[in-house]
Every structure is written in structure tokens, then in C-alpha cells.
Symmetry: C2
Subunit: 223 residues, 2 copies
């Protein structure tokens, strides 16, 4: 959460503590990005204010615009940073099996459940980006395409190894799974204490894998 923070402290403070201006400037940049996440989460992109974000970091709007040339630039860099974090953490290597893929998605769900601001931001921006004119629209279109692509590849490997039934519509399965994760996040953000997002996703993944595994009952799969 963005708490008050030292609002009267000038940017000059803390200079002497660091090793050099580079490290200090870089840390300030990261603090701006963190604050921006919280503001995009609460206000969305359009209604967020550079001055309010800057205030949370302890600088002025003019000072913020030294690090990011525009509001849209700030949004892009926020998205790039979070995507890089996700990619390294959960999609670093391709998944050998469907079970491995879903185990990683469960860890991602646990990770999201520990970061309210970040998750709330993704809910809001993914919804806002439905507008084709939204600056994050291309990002989210690409993001879902990549997510479905990575998941489909791992599911296809499981089909080829005989773990999953032949004829499984792997893309449809990936899209459904992405939907479950997003939808659970919506409900979780509305009630972070009361709604158990992780348990719900685990239950979904377990039931899904069981129902399409070749060890199963031979029920026909859906398209």
C-alpha cells in the first residue's frame, strides 16, 4: 500500500547514504513505479494523477517527469517491469507436462494473493484495456496470446506423451484456465480476507486435470 511517506522530504535527502547518484536515482525510479502500481490499481489509468503519485514518493510532478517523459510512458514501464517479474518467476522454462504447468500457475496464484495492489492493478487495467484506444490494449492482447500459447504448448506435450486424451482442445483449455484465474482475482480483490482464491484455483486445476487425463473415464472432451 502507498502510505503517506515523507512528503516534505526533498529528493536530495538520502543522497549521502547511497554509493553514488546512479544507485540513488535508480531506487527513486523503482519507488515511482511501485507507487504508480497502487494508483493505477485504485484509479485506473485515466483517473490517476502524476502529482498524486509523485506526492507519495516525496517529489513533485515536475520531478517525476524527469524519470518518465509522460504518463503513458510510466504506464508502459510499469507493465514491462511486472511482466518481466512474472516471466522470470513462473515462465522461465517451458513446462514438460500439463501438471507442471498447472503447478506453476498455482504458485503464480499464491504470489498474486500476496500482492493486493499489483493484482488489483491488473484487474483494472485488463478491464480498461478492452477499449481499443486504451494505451494498454496492445499489451493485454499480446499478453493473453502469449499466455495461451505457452500453456497450449505444455498441454500439447502432455497429449503427445499420452498423459492427456487425444483430441483435447488445448487452446480452449488454456483460455478457460486464464479466465478462472482472472475471475477469481476479481472476487478476491473485492474481499481479500474472506475469499480463498488459492483454494479455489487448486480445486479447479485438480478437477480439470483429473477429468481430461487418460486415466480418467473416457468421457468425451469439450471443444
Amino acid at each position: 500500500m502507498v502510505t503517506g511517506m515523507e512528503q516534505k522530504e526533498n529528493g536530495r535527502a538520502g543522497r549521502g547514504a547511497g554509493r553514488g547518484t546512479y544507485a540513488v536515482g535508480d531506487e527513486r525510479r523503482l519507488r515511482i513505479l511501485d507507487a504508480a502500481v497502487e494508483h493505477f490499481a485504485q484509479w485506473g489509468f485515466h483517473a490517476s494523477s502524476l502529482a498524486r503519485i509523485a506526492k507519495d514518493v516525496g517529489i513533485t510532478q515536475g520531478g517525476l517527469l524527469h524519470h518518465f517523459r509522460s504518463k503513458e510512458d510510466l504506464l508502459v514501464q510499469v507493465l514491462e517491469r511486472t511482466e518481466q517479474q512474472d516471466a522470470e518467476r513462473f515462465f522461465g522454462k517451458d513446462f514438460a507436462t500439463a501438471a507442471e504447468c498447472y503447478a506453476s500457475l498455482l504458485r503464480l496464484t499464491e504470489y498474486n494473493a500476496a500482492r493486493l495492489g499489483r493484482t488489483r492493478m491488473f484487474n483494472v487495467l485488463a478491464a480498461e484495456a478492452g477499449d481499443p484506444g486504451h494505451p494498454a490494449h496492445p499489451y493485454f492482447v499480446r499478453r493473453y496470446a502469449e499466455l495461451v500459447s505457452v500453456m497450449s504448448a505444455s498441454l500439447r506435450r502432455s497429449v503427445e506423451s499420452g498423459e492427456l486424451r487425444d483430441g483435447t482442445d488445448v487452446a480452449a483449455m488454456a483460455e478457460e484456465t486464464a479466465a478462472v484465474m482472472d475471475g477469481l482475482q476479481i472476487q478476491w480483490v473485492l474481499d481479500p480476507k474472506g475469499f480463498d482464491m488459492v483454494s479455489r484455483f487448486r480445486a479447479y486445476a485438480d478437477r480439470l486435470l483429473r477429468s481430461i487425463t487418460t486415466e480418467g473415464t473416457g468421457l468425451p472432451e469439450q471443444s
Copy 2:
């Protein structure tokens, strides 16, 4: 979609065509509500502008505020109206069985797939309302509680009749199903032409009902 509309036309125009001022005033009110849906969909609540909404209806901001005393009042009335439409259409009577419940949810999905603006608005507002200070926060908290309650009741009846296995966690199932619908809507709004939301939901509902039905294979259900 909100198209340009007669921007220079004064509110006085068309007065003579109607039967009386009541009907005309009421129709104007509905047009404002329709325009507001599109604006909340594109901009969210905070970044929407009463002047821009009024412009789409062909009046000024001052004229709009004659019908709605504030921006928040407009939001509340938009939500009340859409909820009333949903309730009448899809939750008019309690569902006797789980299959009946899911058949109705499938019709709701088809209905949503025919109304891009309305669905986009719900995506954006449901995400924004994650902020406890958002004017729609109480509405969405209540909305999900009621949805889960109605679905759980119908599922419980199916458990009692032996259609569903004993011990099924009906609330968890309802929450998961709501999540699937919301998540599919996110992806659909990002690509309304290419993403087949209805097929995805049908596949989900079919597989879910099959995997928890007593006619099934006796697999243990998830919590």
C-alpha cells in the same frame, strides 16, 4: 456504441412528437443512462465526464444534472437499472436443478455476448470496485454474495435430489462458475470477434456438471 448524435440540437426538439412531457422526459432519462453505460465502460467511473456524457445525449452538463443530482447518483441508477434487467431476465424464478441453473447462466452469457458496452462496463466497474472507497464497492460485494447464494441454493437442491454427489461444496462451485464467466468476459472484450465466450462457457458448464454428477465415475469432489 455512443455515436456522435445531434450535438447542436436543443433539448426542446422532438417535444411536439411525444404524447406528453412525462414520456419525453423519461425517454431522455433512459438515453442518459444508456450513454453513461458506454462512458463508464470506456473511462471507468472516476475518469468519466458528465459533460461528455451529456454531449452524447445532445444536452449540456447542467441539463444532465437536472435528471441526476450527482455523478455518483448516475452511477447508482445505472447499476440499479442493469441489475433489474438481469434479475427479471435470468433470475426471475429459483432454479429447480443445477442443470437448469447452468442453462440460465448460458443464456446470460449469450445475452452479454450481444452487448459489448454493457459487458465492458461491468468488467471495468467490478475491477475498480475492488477499492473499498469506490462508490460501487458495496454494490459488487452484495452482487456476488447474492449470485453465489442463488446458485448455491439450486445446487443444494440437486444434491438433495441425488443429481449431484453428496458432500459437494456448492458455494465453492458457485464462486468458481462466477469466476469463469467474469474471466471469459475479460478476454472476450479484448477481442470480441475472435474469442468465443459462449462456446467456452458451454464447454466449462458441461464438463463441470458431468464431473460432479452421480452418474459420473465416483471421483471425489474438490473442496
